[in-house]
Amino acid sequence: MRTRPSTAALCALVMAALAVASSACSTVRTGGNIFTARGPGKNDPLSQPYVRMLPAPPKPNALPTEIVSGFLAAAASFDDPLRTVAKQYLTGDAQRTWSPFDAVMIYDQGEVKTDTPGDDLTQAHVTLKGVKLGELDGDSHYVPRDASASNDLSRGFTLVRVRGQWRISTAPAGLLLSNDDFKRAYRSFDLYFAAGDLEGLVIDQVWVPINPSQGLAKSLVQRLLAGPTTPLQDAVESAFGGDVDVSDVNDVTVEGDTVVVDFTSDVVDSARVARYKRALSAQLSWTLKPLTESRRIEVRVNGEQFPGGPFIIAPRDYQGYDPDVVDASAQALYLRQGRLYVIDKDKDEPLSAGAGPARQLTSLAVSDRSFSRVAALEKGGGRIWVTGAAPGSPWERWLEAPGLTPPSWDRHGDLWSVSRAGPRRSQVLRAREASRPVPVSAPDLEPTDVTAFRVARDGVRVAVVSDDGHGQQVLVGAITKSRTEVRNVRTLVPAQAGQEIADIAWRDASTLLVLTRSKNDRQLTAVSVTQGVTDTPRSAARIETITAAPEPAPVLAGTSDGQVLMWDTQKRQWTPLEKNGASAPMYPLG
């Protein structure tokens, strides 16, 4: 029995040791090396914060206006794509006929009014009045309102009593979203589709609805698989091919530094050809860039490794697919007495290319960053001359037609221009080599007077200044895949009385600079071809021609008095770069 006390003593000893040890550990260090403090990692790096409308079922004994407001609010909630809660505001018949997928209309300054005072009636009429802002196409493509037409919105609701409660019996088809609702429920994303020979990408902007039960990234990939929007319908293709559709995305997750995009087995066929696989990778990495940042992307098939080795996309391998083609470091050329100069503060020597007799040249077009080909329009608009980069290469005559617009290169090395045979008779021309122009069909442009035709750097979009008799307007279209037609032409800047379009220039793949000239003023406006106006116009007195490259490359302008100006973004004014008869500055492409 001698062991009992000794065990107890041992117990006490162990406990004491434990207490001492634990009290020694609990102190916090007060010195030591400097270390980087990392905050807590976000739960889902692919998600962005957003606000949701919480749908509420109709309140008992609500007034007709309250019912309509509640219906609009519940319909604006994106919790449930089928809008089950919103349908509770409808009568049984209306529930069957109304569908949220019919249309999406965005309005502002909305007001719900009733024209039937008193609630003893069996039927009530409520009107939603506001200003229409735009519509969302079925392919999530935002169509701004037609600025030329009236945009007052007036939508009527009819309400009847169902078991003593007001319910909507007729509602306008589709969703009516206020601007707030729209901004809350949708996020704009750029989709990228392959163009040309799958060597470049074209931006396509869509509005992706937020679906809280699946990540934004998954919604975005699903939308990418659904294909391009209407304006680019025939101009671009998706490397995923037609067999892969929305239902083929299983999930988009993050594993460490890799974003895993899980498809069904349909994607294996799409990536069978190496060219397609590269284009597909470029599409994915560029489309997901705003969410994934610089993370690598791994494509998996049904949760397993891609057959034939891991399919990992490193975004920097696909920089070459940039739709802008050139970056901010691009240099511009200008003309002085028929010779080509590079805009450079230190150098004032003409380029050796473009030898031969000095011609009266007005506008330039540069095919790429190394100036391998430069095209120029002869004064009078009858001929377009092209010279190579090699020293002493002569001017060759490529196009000869009446009333040619300033030339424009596309990224594939084709020269584009429009000839005007007479009033309202334009013909789009494409030339790959000297004196072999190919006419390109453009049904929307041919019966108008085209004064400018510029192919965007992505090689697909074209911006056109045309006049159909109601004044000059800026149109945007797309060159089809076969490169034989310009299609889907729509108005970007509508005609206004007393306004002329002096020049247009692509800043990047989706932004167009428009130089307008009214009676007493000239203005330069940046217009997003996917969204609408994005910039407040800046004054541009004296300016005749403009050229631009992706930001932060400065916008250059040629004046009528022989100067090349540069827009200084800090001072917010034009500063002269070159003088003494310098004209027609031009960045490569665009």
Partner: protein, 586 residues
């Protein structure tokens, strides 16, 4: 040995209780239950035995119990402290954040309504810069940007339509009704809080969360801080506490076991040595290691053992000398006695020529000489036993003949004392391998003894036999034996009443020799007696020479006495044969 009389352990020893093993009869539920109970009892008995026998087990178990209690209590308080600390910190930071957010919301809701300027969706090219016109959207947007997924906010307005907002994928059913009621009743500056499950849209399982509510201008603002990280931390801490606690308890048990082992092993060695010593191996000694208490115990034990051995040796020598002395004296006395006897015979034969007094003296001398001779013979006999020189002359005989011969020898004496001998012999022969001369002598001695103390009452001589043993019981109805005298009667020269004269002229060695004879056969000679009830002597012998005797065919206590005793309810337990055997081995 000292096996405890366990109720369960004796049960299965009896195979008769089971059904016949050859026939596979179906066992009734009752039998099964009994079997289970029996097995359980047996297991419990085994455990109890181990428990009682192992000091180490007891010490380890009690250490386990105590340390488990201590660790459990300690762990509970530690857990409580950690839990409180983590949740308190979480609550504090959550409250601070929620209050700051409520202030932000207030400022948004109280600002003059934003002038509806030029609003086009394209004005938000940068999608990080969402500009809303309605204050509640502005507020909700500010909160969700600030929260950045760390917590969720729900804004509800019971009064207006279409003013309910939630951040990210929080589900509106997360808001508990109880909290809503409390928020409306809460005073200014109070932040009602509740631990509640937090639901997300599109996910079925809820996350434990801390909900904080506030009311601003009719807008209820609920903050949900998910606690899943804290829960994870806490459960990890809990697991660690458990693992550490279990490890600690096991460690303590191991330590206790080790310590006990260090103490118990020498004690066990000492016990084994003592057992061997008790078994007669006097040369047994312990190894002495070191100088601690246990070493001193071993040393003292060794000293005791050697002293004991010395004493035993001395006593053995002494008793050897005494026996030799008795033997020598008996031998030496014989030669003069022979001469004296011859002279006394002469005197006795010519006694009629002497005067009556002298003749009487010659007769007396003759008598006493005979007694002296028989005493000498007995002494010689007993010294032969002491020297271990006694041998058996074994022959298979019918015990009935032996009994009858002994009875025949005692008949004259019985007639003289007017005592009737009642014989109860079995009908068939009962053969046994015995030395009939010695057995006859035993029986004669018992009969003489019974006649002498029987006070003329009947003496019953019974012969019993079973498969292994035969027994003869001699019952008298004399004065009986006092308690404790049952063994003393076999001592040499012992007499019940020292004042009483020996009438039959016994030597006082008869019963001692009888017992030696019985033991030589491997049998028992036992006595029973109650004052006033008489006594009974029972001789039990194995049927085969050299076989071990397990029981006796006849009871030691006469059946009528036993019956009367149970009748009265005086349940003095009958001594089991095994115990009696131990007596006899003395």
């Amino acid at each position: 040995m000292a096996t405890a009389p366990l109720p369960g352990s004796s049960g299965p020893a009896r195979p008769g209780g089971r059904p016949k093993p050859k026939k596979k009869t179906r066992r009734t539920p009752r039998q099964i239950v009994r079997g289970v109970r029996r097995r359980a009892r047996r297991a419990a008995g085994r455990v109890r035995r181990v428990w009682r026998r192992s000091l180490q087990l007891r010490v380890v178990t009690s250490t386990l119990m105590i340390s488990m209690t201590v660790v459990a209590v300690l762990g509970f308080f530690l857990w409580q402290m950690i839990d409180t600390a983590i949740l308190r910190g979480r609550l504090d930071s959550a409250t601070a954040e929620a209050r700051a957010n409520v202030t932000t919301v207030e400022s948004y809701l109280n600002q003059p309504l934003a002038t509806p300027g030029k609003q086009t969706p394209s004005s938000q090219a940068d999608d990080s810069e969402l500009i809303f016109t309605s204050p509640v959207d502005q507020a909700a947007n500010a909160l969700t940007t600030r929260a950045d997924g760390r917590y969720s906010v729900v804004i509800l307005n019971a009064g207006q339509v279409g003013q309910d907002r939630g951040t990210n994928d929080v589900d509106s059913r997360s808001v508990p009704q109880k909290l809503r009621d409390t928020v409306y009743r809460a005073k200014d500056g109070e932040t009602p809080a509740q631990y509640t499950p937090l639901y997300y849209v599109g996910r079925t399982e809820a996350v434990p969360a801390l909900a904080l509510g506030a009311l601003v201008d009719g807008y209820e603002i609920y903050h949900f801080f998910p606690l899943d990280d804290d829960v994870k931390t806490l459960s990890a801490v809990q697991q660690w506490l458990f693992v550490v606690g279990v490890a600690l308890v096991l460690l303590l048990a191991a330590v206790a076991s080790l310590v006990t082992r260090q103490v118990v092993t020498p004690v066990r060695l000492t016990r084994q040595a003592a057992e061997r010593l008790a078994a007669g191996r006097l040369e047994e000694r312990l190894k002495v290691r070191g100088e601690d208490d246990l070493a001193r115990l071993a040393a003292s034990f060794n000293e005791m053992a050697s002293n004991l051995a010395l004493k035993i040796h001395q006593l053995e020598e002494l008793s050897q000398v005494q026996r030799q002395f008795v033997s020598d004296v008996s031998h030496e006395l014989r030669t003069p006695l022979t001469t004296v006897r011859m002279a006394a015979d002469l005197l006795y034969e010519s006694r009629e020529e002497f005067d009556p007094a002298t003749a009487r003296a010659a007769e007396l001398m003759q008598n006493q000489l005979e007694r002296f001779e028989s005493m000498l013979a007995d002494l010689l006999e007993i010294s032969r036993y002491d020297a271990g020189a006694a041998t058996l002359d074994i022959d298979s005989v019918d015990m009935r003949d032996v009994v009858l011969r002994a009875v025949g020898d005692s008949q004259p004496l019985a007639e003289r004392r007017a005592t009737r001998l009642d014989l109860r012999l079995p009908g068939e022969p009962c053969m046994a391998e015995v030395d009939s001369r010695r057995v006859e002598r035993i029986l004669r001695n018992l009969l003489f003894n019974a006649i002498e103390h029987g006070e003329g009452r009947d003496i019953v001589v019974a012969l019993g036999a079973d498969r292994d043993a035969v027994a003869v019981a001699v019952r008298d109805h004399g004065v009986g034996l006092k308690p404790g005298e049952e063994n003393m009667v076999f001592d040499r020269f012992w007499r019940a009443d020292p004042s009483r004269a020996r009438t039959i002229g016994g030597t006082g060695l008869g019963l001692a020799i009888s017992r030696e004879d019985a033991m030589l056969h491997g049998g028992w000679l036992q006595a029973w007696g109650i004052p006033g009830e008489g006594s009974q002597f029972r001789l039990s012998l194995p049927r085969q020479a050299g076989a071990e005797l397990r029981g006796s065919p006849l009871p030691l206590v006469p059946p009528e006495i036993e019956m009367r005793r149970t009748w009265r309810g005086h349940a003095t337990p009958v001594l089991s044969p095994a115990v009696e055997g131990a007596f006899d081995a003395d």
